[in-house]
């Protein structure tokens, strides 16, 4: 297994501002993902974070709203831009460990409230 950390663990933000969430892993990983979980909902994949290149976004998510960086194998950031109350969610990063087939392990999550 691996230790996955996310910062911040929670935040309260004003509408129109941006928040950057960090995800750090202590092991070698092959893939990293970012998810959103809106209140009472299941997990929705935002994008696959690609090392050294642009992320691959799912339908309904765009780079201008959710810019993602992955400068190396074990670190990624997700920015939620120009926030509105509808962005209030839990944001989760997940990783697939080297040799781990498709099993994804999740970070502790960031609970975001936008006022």
């Amino acid at each position: 297994s691996a230790v996955i950390s996310q910062k911040p663990s929670r935040d309260i933000c004003q509408r129109g501002t941006s928040l950057t969430i960090q995800c750090q892993v202590d092991s070698q990983v092959t893939m990293m993902f970012w998810y959103r979980q809106q209140p009472g909902q299941s997990l929705t994949l935002i994008a696959t974070a690609n090392q050294g290149s642009e992320a691959t976004y799912e339908s309904g998510f765009v780079i201008d709203k959710f810019p993602i960086s992955r400068p190396n194998l074990t670190f990624s950031t997700l920015t939620v831009s120009n926030m509105s109350p509808e962005d209030s969610s839990i944001y989760l990063c997940s990783v697939v460990l080297a040799g781990g087939l498709e099993t994804q392990y999740f970070g502790p999550g960031t609970r975001l409230l936008v006022l």
Binding site: E102, Q104, F106, G107
Partner: protein, 112 residues
């Protein structure tokens, strides 16, 4: 489009009961089915199933996959209050390796 449907959506039981959670799916190019437990924020991995008819077991939890009928079940015996959580089923398949499609989850509440 890949699809994962879990049932029931919620379940309330008493300690000591046995529960069965269901996950049915539709997918092209099935690779794996995974179960997760989500208590607060982060889902924690329980099982990964790739072969039909082989039971995975960990303590009081067990899971089995039926690739012919396209479903999986998660059993929890002798439930405890600590089993109260959302149980998520996720599907690995299609053309994008590594990506998972999640079901809506089953909310399990275990009363003392």
């Amino acid at each position: 489009e890949d699809k994962v449907v879990q049932s029931p959506l919620s379940l309330v039981v008493h300690e000591g009961d046995t529960v069965t959670l269901n996950c049915s799916y539709e997918v092209t190019n099935f690779r794996s089915l995974l179960w997760y437990k989500q208590e607060k924020k982060a889902p924690t991995f329980l099982f990964m199933l790739t072969s039909s008819g082989i039971e995975k077991k960990s303590g009081r939890l067990s899971s089995i996959l039926d690739k012919k009928e396209l479903f999986s079940i998660l059993n929890i015996t002798a439930t405890q209050t600590g089993d109260s959580a959302i149980y998520l089923c996720a599907l690995g398949g299609g053309t994008s390796y590594g990506k998972l499609t999640f079901g809506q989850g089953t909310i399990l509440t275990v009363h003392p």
